[in-house]
């Protein structure tokens, strides 16, 4: 569990490389990758807990995280400035 407070835009983060069962909103292809926070959306009910019929509490901070496509895909041959933005909950992020 993440305990070092709300992440700020610009913060470099690494996505947890973890493969638990259940209703997970963090796509597999982004796990373990490094990007940076671009937006802080606020707190939302945790879909992993809503997914199994619980009330979604405690709420989790949700961020928009931007990744360079070249950091995500091996041998990416598009423009170097291409990025992908993904909404990720705080418990899937660690400072990098």
């Amino acid at each position: 569990m993440m305990s070092d407070g709300i992440l700020q835009p610009g913060q470099r983060v690494r996505v947890r490389e973890d493969y638990p069962p259940g209703h997970i909103r963090t796509p597999v292809y982004i796990r373990g990758k490094i990007g940076h926070v671009t937006r802080v959306f606020g707190e939302f009910e945790n879909p992993e807990r809503l997914g199994v019929g619980l009330d979604g509490k405690p709420k989790k901070m949700l961020y928009e995280v931007r990744f360079k496509q070249a950091d995500v895909w091996p041998n990416y041959n598009g423009p170097v400035h291409d990025t992908v933005d993904i909404d990720i909950y705080q418990h899937w992020l660690e400072k990098a």
Binding site: H23, V28, Y29, P47, L50, V52, W73
Partner: protein, 107 residues
């Protein structure tokens, strides 16, 4: 663990970007999903419905189209939560099938 829905990065061929017109039954399922998941009923809540869809298994997930997955997931939840029994669902399906056969509407 990668669910059947989590396909980012897996070779899949070209994506069909043509808009699809919704059929009447698909609209019915959409409406039913909204009603069953509203604040009063909370039977098929969004994330839970998705979890059921993701848990259908690779074979069923691939074989069924979008709203067929919704339908399968909703039926599972209605049975699990005691709203309907599988026997009631099966009986209704048989009844409708017979009616459509009689009117020649069965696809």
């Amino acid at each position: 663990m990668r669910g059947p829905h989590d396909v980012g990065g897996i070779p899949a061929g070209p994506v069909d970007t043509e808009p699809h017109k919704m059929t009447f039954w698909e609209k019915q399922i959409d409406a039913m999903h909204t009603l069953l998941g509203d604040d009063k009923r909370r039977i098929t809540v969004r994330d839970q419905n998705r979890h059921y869809i993701e848990s259908l298994g690779q074979d069923a997930y691939t074989r069924l189209n979008y709203y067929e997955r919704w339908t399968a997931a909703m039926a599972l939840q209605l049975v699990k939560k005691g709203v309907l029994t599988q026997d009631e669902i099966d009986a209704k399906i048989a009844e409708i099938k017979q009616r459509l056969e009689e009117t020649g509407e069965l696809e």
